[in-house]
Symmetry: C2
Subunit: 321 residues, 2 copies
């Protein structure tokens, strides 16, 4: 088998190598997958840099999610030919992964392989953002920044299915029509003037999602209704949250964070399967689609990592072994 591995934490392009590894033998209850597609997520790069929430033992294979086809099974729940996604951080940037069957989610028939490869992280993040804190009543509003990100687009789709309205902050005017077509209720430029105009229209979201930080996170706070909850799930701007005291004391905003891995690994297994079942159905019905920018073979990982940082990127970057 082939896998991308790193033997020390550091810049991905400097520490990552494509290596030939022995296929390990299969234990009882385990399944061997031939990987079909695995995304390059910002969290993967953080993992390689050593700045993620956990540090894996070294050497390590990155890849926090991916979709594969069963080629050998020692579990009664899977037969060769089944397709599944991996619900643990099991090193999906490889030609093969072997893992206990309990950490797999079997895909429904007819599911697109690329969309499936992206199911674990972004759609589940959107689901938990919308349902895991204060669950907004149908017809009420949420606000989010980086609304054009993969999670942002999932939030728009999942909110629509739950009857929740979305106010979406974006950095480029030309994204407006695209997001409105996806089902966004409002699309605003992420600047102070747009925020002022939104406040005058008296839309008061009860929940706000932030994956940027800094000024943009503050704009989300200022748009929220008193008593609302502000959830941080990413830090694209790599700057901390700055929270004016009055927003805590007088406006009674609540600040939370979301790390989807913790939910996947800690929530009751039945609940996790139910949520992925719902999200997979939305994808099969075409209600939830994540755009793909480019696909690279494992050997061209350097191109994939560069593509992730490219300003003109329009969708997710995948590795397809």
């Amino acid at each position: 088998m082939q896998a991308l591995r790193f033997h020390e934490f550091g810049k991905p392009l400097e520490v990552l190598r494509l290596e030939e590894l022995e296929l390990p033998s299969l234990d009882d209850g385990e399944v061997r997958l031939k990987m079909l597609a695995a995304p390059v997520n910002p969290a993967d790069l953080n993992l390689i840099e050593g700045t993620y929430g956990v540090k894996p033992p070294l050497p390590a294979v990155p890849g926090i999610e991916g979709c594969g086809e069963v080629v050998e099974s020692r579990s009664p729940d899977f037969v060769a030919g089944d397709r599944a996604i991996i619900l643990r951080r099991a090193g999906s940037w490889a030609s093969h992964v072997q893992i206990s069957a309990e950490h797999l989610f079997k895909l429904p028939a007819g599911m697109d392989v690329q969309q499936a490869a992206m199911l674990k992280v972004n759609p589940a993040t959107a689901w938990r953002l919308l349902t895991g804190f204060e669950r907004p009543a149908a017809g009420s509003w949420i606000v989010q920044n980086a609304a054009n990100s993969a999670v942002g687009r999932c939030v728009i789709a999942v909110a629509k299915s739950l009857g929740i309205r979305t106010m979406n902050l974006v950095r480029r005017e030309e994204l407006r029509d695209e997001l409105l077509a996806l089902g966004a209720d409002e699309v605003l430029l992420d600047d102070d003037a747009a925020v002022e105009s939104a406040k005058q229209r008296e839309i008061r979201p009860v929940l706000g999602f932030n994956c940027v930080g800094g000024e943009s996170a503050l704009r989300v706070m200022n748009l929220l209704a008193p008593g609302a909850t502000h959830v941080t799930y990413g830090a694209m701007a790599r700057r901390p949250l700055t929270v004016p005291n009055g927003l805590l004391i007088f406006k009674d905003l609540k600040f939370r964070g979301l790390w989807i891995t913790k939910w996947i690994e800690g929530a009751p297994k039945e609940e996790v399967r139910e949520v992925y079942g719902e999200l997979a159905k939305m994808i099969v019905r075409g209600e939830l689609t994540m755009p793909v920018d480019r696909i690279f073979p494992l050997a061209e990982f350097a191109g994939a990592i560069e593509a992730l940082a490219a300003p003109e990127r329009n969708g997710k970057v995948l590795l397809a072994p």
Copy 2:
């Protein structure tokens, strides 16, 4: 009657005047109090400056709390000679206050007038900090900064009565023995070295209280257990909270604020009376005492305001009309 009033928002020493006012007539259900003592709280100065959570109509009499004796009553619940504290912001910096009886809390016999005058804000803040968010189990820890403040001392006393242990950050080493004598379990200097030593001893508080902001608020965050709640109730350093993204996403800290006025005015009346009843009993039993620095007559309000800012102050500053 006499009252301190301001006709425009601004610096207290510039806009506040002692004025002679007509005693208004008493409506049905109302009570007239002769004021006995009223503290000068930082929130009073914010109110005068126009930076408080609400702006009163002008001209206004400051004074968010105080203790008085009934001199005339048109309520069946009070007779002349009863003593009470005022649970609304009714302008306590005056010789007299008249107010609907439902906004008064009648004091138990034998209660010290000065301690009673300070009952509304600081002890109730401590109570809500300890019971209004995640209520810590007996034996578990909280951490607070500015532990020598009036609220900080109340937190130590109330926590002790609830069996909760307190880690206390202070700015001066010489406060250690004083706070230990009050019942504090740990007293640490509010600097990075002290915080490191506390972390090594593996005390992990489940609740943190911040009334400073800036670096001190961050030290409280770093001392907390994963999943803990960080509550801001003041902003002595006049600097916003800076929250590293990892503390939200990976450590799952929750950030809240407390404005005690909102609880007093919004919570069920029975609950509010019950809490003040408990706190008053603690004061009568000598379990809860707030030190008093100096007492000034209304005419010497300038001295009182200066005393509040004095670095050598050791306790609350009161006005006694």
